[in-house]
């Protein structure tokens, strides 16, 4: 027993370093969701060690405030959140115990992606009989590359403040990212151009920014109102809307109720399309560009078949 305790302690000490330490000198950047993490990786490159709090497959509105996340945030040099109440059900509970002034609101180490984006779906009145509306608007803005361009600049700006020695590197990474994004956006727009005005159906209102950017139209959502599960009457309404408007594609995220989508699809001769918004869910979609390539390609393919 006497020998065991020091052994255990030294093991614990080793483990704490093995798990916690990023490559020497790297900034510990914590993103609430993996898509923000992937974007930060584009700008931070090898200067940053990225951790995402939400798992790529889970509903980002309902992440458990697990104590391990408090530890992650306690050591962070930077926190990138979506904002606009995306994480309101869990991030404030974590931050209460974090005791890290580097990521306090207003600090250079705190980035709220939503604060510079032109928000859609901003409610005219705050009324929960319309569902779980977010006061600042729809927080699913990462699927619009133009928003991503703005957010990337903001991340670069904050990284340069937190780690001034590498500011030049962040600036050049941002420039390279922007050039690639501009080229890619042209390519993605070309891929989706033939489907201008095409109707899509989604579960939650999480593809409105993608639709707006690429001139598609969200005909209806399976959810009756944000956060409110579909009633049978609403499902019937969705089916009739889809038939009327000839909407043949239903987009779902991995955590959403695929069964409801399939039921509706069977009755409308539509296809259910897996469109994971987070990197790493579909194969070879770990980076921002591979993910967007995948989503645009998948969507264009499905819309092409429906014609």
């Amino acid at each position: 027993m006497k020998k065991l305790i020091p052994k255990l302690l030294s093991l614990a000490w080793l483990a704490s370093w093995a798990i916690a330490a990023p490559v020497a000198g790297q900034l510990r950047v914590v993103a609430t969701t993996p898509d923000l993490g992937a974007l930060a990786k584009e700008i931070g490159g090898d200067r940053v060690d990225i951790t995402a709090l939400a798992k790529p497959t889970e509903d980002p509105h309902f992440v458990d405030a697990r104590p391990s996340l408090i530890v992650t945030l306690n050591r962070a040099d930077m926190l990138i959140e979506g904002g606009a109440e995306l994480e309101i059900g869990w991030l404030p509970a974590l931050l209460q115990g974090v005791r890290n002034t580097k990521i306090a609101a207003g600090a250079p180490g705190r980035v709220s992606a939503a604060s510079g984006v032109a928000m859609l779906d901003v409610p005219a009145s705050l009324d929960r009989s319309r569902g779980d509306v977010h006061a600042l608007g729809n927080p699913h803005f990462m699927l619009d590359p133009v928003n991503v361009r703005l957010i990337a600049a903001e991340i670069a700006n904050h990284l340069a403040q937190v780690d001034a020695a590498s500011a030049e590197q962040y600036r050049s990474n941002l420039q390279r990212f922007n050039e690639r994004l501009d080229a890619k956006l042209t390519e993605w727009q070309a891929q989706l151009a033939p489907f201008r005005g095409a109707k899509i159906v989604t579960y939650h209102r999480d593809f409105v920014y993608l639709a707006a950017r690429f001139n598609l139209e969200v005909a209806t959502t399976l959810e009756e109102r944000p956060g409110i599960a579909p009633s049978p009457a609403h499902v019937a309404q969705v089916i009739s809307t889809m038939r009327e408007q000839n909407a043949r594609v239903i987009l779902v995220q991995p955590y959403q109720n695929r069964r409801t989508a399939e039921t509706v699809a069977r009755q409308t001769d539509a296809v259910v399309l897996d469109m994971p918004q987070q990197p790493g869910v579909a194969q070879n979609t770990d980076s921002y560009f591979t993910l967007m390539d995948y989503l645009v390609h998948t969507l264009a393919g499905a819309l092409g078949q429906g014609r």
Binding site: A12, A15, S16, A18, I19, K55, T57, E58, D59, H61, F62, D64, A65, R66, P67, S68, I70, V71, N74, G83, E85, I88, G89, W90, P92, A93, Q96, G97, R99, T101, A104, A105, P108, A114, S115, G116, R128, G131, D132, A135, L136, L150, A153, E154, A156, N157, H158, A160, Q161, A164, A167, Y170, R171, L174, G227, A229, P254, Y255, Q256, N257
Partner: protein, 385 residues
């Protein structure tokens, strides 16, 4: 501080939230029990109290950043008693530091002592209609709560470990096992008027808790707590309560709105109440002897979030007390089994039904069926794990 090397946007968009977040949580209970005196059966102040309808907890919650150094929290409870009279209670009101060095954090004001798991939770976070028997018996109807300070230290380990110490006043109804004026229900003697002569006359609540993510879908939190302080059965009497708690949760990797999940929560507590030689309240001519009142109890609850918005649960509880000179009705050996089913029409409302099979030694078995409705308005709450 903001020497901007790259032009960015100023943080001027629409402000997120207000200076103060305001929320309101309403809980209403309805039901029936085979025990006509429901109050004798239900130990919690926020439990159903009568046959028929109970409004046990209408809670106004306020919180916000005070300045860059402090956050403030308050919860004010309105409730209706058995006679329909309104009661108001400043349940919690405290500040929390945000920027102390050394991973330290201080809380001060009126707050729930950080003992175990459920004691710090407000009724709307409970998985059942009523509070566990062992908490009611050892901490009284309103939980272990009081005026004081708490210091906490987050250990610099790669897994979560937090050590806390609360120092609270040891008097009042929310220090039930300590210098409470209601302590005669425990020991049968007239409470002694004890002054606070030193630090030892305050209530100390140390707690150590740690957590591990076992897999990508499973997390466990364990903790050990104690509550040590004077009681007023006599001038030198004291009480020691020790507890251990565990919480385990599995949540699907593709959880939607937090479902499906399975969770398990259990707490075990023991109390050594050092009762001094004291004058009996029933008969002033009788002196009750110096003795140690020993009590222990445990509860375990299993919840299954079957699919979005549906949770099935079951809770089992046992409390045991060693006999003493005074036969306290509160210190009755007892067990209770409570299956429940909860449906959430949305994140902001819930309907719950719960059955209690309640067996009190030497009294008998009672059956109760309770319905609960809850509604939440205002600021979106964030929930601790």
């Amino acid at each position: 501080m903001f020497g901007l090397p790259i032009a960015g946007w100023a943080q001027v968009g629409s402000p997120s939230g207000a200076f103060i977040n305001i929320g309101f949580v309403g809980i209403a209970d309805a039901g029936w029990s085979t025990e006509p005196d429901v109050g004798s059966l239900q130990l919690g102040d926020h439990d159903p109290r009568v046959r028929g309808f109970t409004i046990p907890n209408m809670e106004l919650t306020l919180n916000g950043a005070v300045d860059p150094y402090f956050q403030g929290f308050a919860s004010i409870i309105y409730k209706l008693d058995e006679e329909g009279e309104t009661g108001v209670e400043l349940e919690e009101a405290f500040f929390l530091t945000t920027s102390l060095p050394g991973n330290l954090q201080v809380k001060g004001g009126q707050f729930f002592g950080e003992f175990g798991r459920q004691n710090t939770q407000h009724p709307h976070a409970w998985a059942f209609v009523d509070q566990p028997l062992v908490l009611g018996e050892l901490f009284g109807p309103e939980g272990l709560r009081g005026q004081g300070m708490r210091i906490s230290w987050l250990a610099p380990t790669s897994w979560y470990t937090e050590a806390m110490l609360s120092v609270l006043n040891s008097a009042g109804g929310t220090a039930f096992s300590f210098r409470s004026e209601e302590s005669s229900v425990i020991h049968g003697g007239a409470p002694d008027e004890r002054a606070v002569d030193g630090l030892g006359d305050l209530l100390l609540v140390p707690r150590l808790t740690t957590s591990l993510d076992l897999t990508a879908t499973q997390t466990v939190v364990v903790g050990a707590s104690a509550a040590l302080g004077p009681n007023n059965s006599g001038p030198d009497a004291d009480t020691r309560i020790f507890g251990a708690d565990v919480y385990w949760k599995w949540k699907s990797l593709t959880a939607f709105q937090g479902f499906p999940f399975v969770s398990f929560q259990a707490e075990a507590l023991v109390r050594r109440y050092g009762a001094a030689s004291r004058e009996s309240v029933d008969d002033p001519l009788v002196t009750l002897p110096t003795e140690t009142l020993r009590d222990r109890g445990t509860y375990a609850e299993l919840l299954w979030g079957i699919k979005p918005r549906w949770v099935a649960g079951t809770r089992g509880e046992v409390v045991r007390s060693e006999s003493a000179t005074y036969a306290s009705a509160l210190r009755t050996d007892r067990y209770r089994i409570s299956p429940s089913l909860t449906w959430y029409p949305s994140e902001f409302s819930k309907l719950r039904v719960q059955y209690n099979l309640d067996h009190r030694e030497a009294i008998g078995t009672d059956h109760s069926l309770w319905f609960q409705f809850e509604f939440i308005m205002g600021a979106h709450a964030a929930h601790r794990f």
